[in-house]
């Protein structure tokens, strides 16, 4: 039996690698998508930070008189100041208007007696900060105390905060679930009710269990190779951060791939539709799963986790994504193990459901 196992294993492996479409969707497509994500998102983290804001101040009589404003904005525009907020130009009102129209500055400040007036073109965070800081200076001037003391604030947030990582985790989840295409395809080859090849195999003197197991294993190997390539690419080229537990990352990828194959198995064995429709169903399920896990908008996962937690508890894409996220963001591993075990249960249930059909040897019709 062991000879037969490897004979079948060898050839299924070969056919899987030779099938261009299978390899494109499971190997190449995630890498292409990952590259696109990288190109599109690589700058977001920088964009999230507050930039130095370009402003102008109308340098007139009023301003020259107001020592508070003069000092404060000088301090806030000082290149040596670590907490620098502004790049300030001191000009007359005509020039300020011109600068604003040309988009050189986001707004300008003019002191009108007691109240400062800010002219801006539209709304945004920069404008808000400008207004806010101006008010703060104004209020300080009311107290008459110029000396500002620092206050004690201690930041205790977790370190890894780059939320674009979620995109890459959902990408891994997508690749893992796309692996289901392999098991759909393989089942189509070896099940007698699905193809003539399957009939041919069924009438040979090999135990069905041997064939199913060795074919499933072959597709798992191909799937793992695909995942390894994707990981190598995301780590070496895209520089995705998976946290510090590399062994646990491998385990999660392996379990996630198993979940993908199980979905493919269940679809392949239980659904009585054409192979193309089966692939379509798998891709549909995967994309919906990835959408809920945050692929098309990172906050979606949090919204679902909060609003309808059960949905992402049965969504394998979310389990995989959440597993990577917890490795990256949390220092404890409770959540990671919960995800891994969920994925195992998920795969187990699907394999069990498919089992009756996998074992069947005689059919009502073929």
């Amino acid at each position: 039996m062991i000879d037969m196992f490897f004979h079948n294993f060898k050839y299924i492996l070969k056919t899987l690698f030779k099938n261009k479409m299978l390899i494109f969707w499971t190997f190449a497509f995630p890498i292409i998508l990952g590259t696109l994500f990288h190109l599109a998102f690589s700058n977001i983290a920088n964009n999230e930070k507050l930039d130095i804001i370009d402003i102008a101040i109308v340098k007139d009589e009023e301003f020259n008189k107001n020592i508070f404003f003069k000092m404060a904005f000088k301090e806030l525009s000082d290149k040596k100041n670590e907490e620098r907020l502004f790049h300030t130009q001191y000009v007359d009102e005509e020039k300020a208007k011109k600068l604003l129209e040309d988009g050189e500055i986001i707004g300008y400040l003019k002191l009108e007696g007691e109240t400062p007036k800010i002219t801006i073109i539209s709304n945004g965070i920069d404008e808000t900060v400008f207004k806010y800081v101006t008010e703060q200076v104004l209020q300080m001037s009311q107290t008459g105390i110029f000396e500002i003391e620092d206050i004690n604030i201690k930041n205790i947030s977790n370190k890894n905060l780059d939320y674009t990582m979620i995109e890459f985790y959902t990408l891994i989840a997508m690749a893992a679930l796309y692996g289901g295409i392999f098991s759909i395809w393989v089942m189509n080859q070896i099940m007698p009710d699905l193809s003539a090849k399957g009939k041919r195999i069924a009438i040979s003197p090999i135990k069905k269990g041997t064939i199913v197991l060795s074919s499933f294993l072959a597709s798992y190997i191909v799937q793992l190779i695909g995942m390894a390539l994707l990981f190598a690419y995301t780590i070496l080229v895209i520089q995705v951060d998976y946290g510090v537990y590399s062994k646990l990352v491998v385990l999660l990828a392996a379990v996630g791939s198993l979940a993908g194959l199980s979905i493919g198995l269940a679809i392949g064995v239980l659904m009585k539709v054409s192979e193309n429709s089966k692939t379509g169903i798998l891709i549909g399920i995967t994309m919906i799963g990835c959408y809920l896990a945050g692929m098309m908008g990172i906050s979606m996962k949090n919204i679902v986790d909060k609003g309808a937690p059960i949905v992402n508890k049965v969504n394998p894409a979310a389990m995989i994504t959440d597993g990577f996220y917890s490795l990256y963001y949390y220092e404890t591993l409770d959540r990671y193990w919960f995800d891994v075990i969920s994925l195992c249960i998920f795969s187990g249930v699907l394999i069990l459901i498919s089992f009756r059909n996998l074992r069947r040897k005689k059919y009502d019709s073929i």
Partner: protein, 382 residues
């Protein structure tokens, strides 16, 4: 006429693809309507924060919380470390403030007790930090003068009432324009995906060996046949385009009927025709349905990511934007962005949009020439 008939038959068989991409666009459009509602106006730039208070409900704490409520969106979130951590990571909160035990007591005795915070580190968080700092600093100043807690809070509140005057010069409803821009930018994805795949499929079935032979020897001459094919493809493209314009009319309503809205629509028409010619080229190059679905996915996703249909252009790295210049989608989206922020529609301000249009037309001509070359070389070999 047979060309047209066959055309619609194939289309009908593959209508699911069209439906899927249209639904994606709809889902995006609707969810976009909802989320962008708040983040676009002045007030909503308030950061989202949570307060965890371990101190008593003292006057100082009450005053502080009241102040934060006024200046930030204080969210009621379950005080559970994991929930708070998740919320920070997913930017559901920008800032979490922990007020430690005995904070008020220590503060009133002139010590400077420590506040613990969690922060996303983005600009919203920086803003939240400013807000917090201002209150505590102000209270610090008055603490030296006033020993009564209630009086101190009252004084701080009084001084914080001083505000600056704001004058906004722009009359443009940038919020609404933003939505139109986002919708039309995203529509480029659905359009490319639908057109490349479907037109490719249709050309394929016409180019199939047997049919090709039959057509070459048929009485209907070759040029007329090709023209009919191109015409029916354009017909299909225009229907898809009209469909997406109608969806935009339903979602965005009368804003689409202003001059500006109509320019958006015109821009998308030029783009549609450009993509039709691109699809024509791809369909002539690729002779395999499965490969076609791969290519249409890569082309549509690729151009959408690189040109800023999904992620706003201003967030893209410079080198990506440079690469994007070789794709027609870039010019389409550039026009949309220009329209979204343009103050007034004048001859001068329209100039960049006109340039973009000319570039898109140039792309179309190149695609047509290329596909003619492809068709000719193929016929010689076949």
């Amino acid at each position: 006429m047979t060309v047209f008939k066959t055309f619609w038959k194939i289309l009908n068989k593959n209508k699911l693809t069209v439906i899927i991409y249209t639904v994606i666009l709809l889902v995006f459009g609707i969810s976009n309507m909802k989320t962008s509602e708040k983040s676009m106006n002045f007030q909503a730039e308030k950061p989202d924060i949570a307060i965890v208070n371990y101190d008593e409900e003292t006057e100082l704490v009450k005053g502080f919380v009241q102040y934060l409520n006024k200046n930030c969106n204080v969210k009621e979130i379950e005080n559970n470390e994991e929930t708070l951590n998740d919320a920070i990571f997913y930017r559901d909160l920008n800032y979490v403030i922990y007020i430690p035990e005995n904070y008020t007591e220590e503060f009133m005795t002139g010590k400077k007790p420590e506040l613990e915070v969690k922060s996303t580190g983005d600009y919203q968080a920086s803003y939240a930090k400013m807000i917090v700092t201002r209150y505590i600093q102000m209270a610090n100043i008055y603490q030296k003068k006033i020993s009564d807690e209630s009086e101190l809070v009252a004084q701080v509140n009084e001084v914080l009432k001083n505000e600056a005057k704001i004058e906004m010069t722009s009359k443009l409803d940038s919020n609404a324009m933003q939505k139109v821009t986002l919708y039309y930018n995203f529509a480029s994805y659905s359009l490319i995906a639908c057109l490349v795949f479907m037109i490719g499929l249709i050309l394929n079935s016409f180019n199939q060996e047997k049919i090709k032979k039959r057509i070459i020897i048929s009485s209907e001459n070759c040029k007329r046949h090709n023209r009919a094919l191109l015409l029916s493809n354009c017909c299909y493209s225009l229907i898809m385009w009209a469909l997406y314009v109608i969806v935009s009319l339903i979602l965005l309503k009368d804003i689409m009927l202003t001059t500006r809205g109509l320019i958006y629509i015109a821009n998308s028409l030029v783009f549609t025709l450009c993509i039709t010619t691109l699809s024509f080229l791809i369909g002539n190059l690729v002779n395999n349905k499965e490969a076609l679905s791969g290519i249409s996915n890569v082309v549509s996703l690729g151009s959408s990511f690189l040109c800023g249909a999904f992620v706003p252009v201003r967030w893209l790295p410079d080198f990506v934007i440079k690469i994007a210049h070789v794709l027609p989608t870039y010019y389409y989206i550039n026009s949309n962005e220009t329209l979204g922020t343009m103050e007034k529609i004048t001859k001068e301000t329209m100039q960049p949009i006109i340039t973009n249009t000319i570039i898109m037309i140039a792309f179309s001509i190149i695609f047509i020439i290329l596909s003619n070359i492809v068709v000719k070389t193929k016929r010689k070999i076949g």
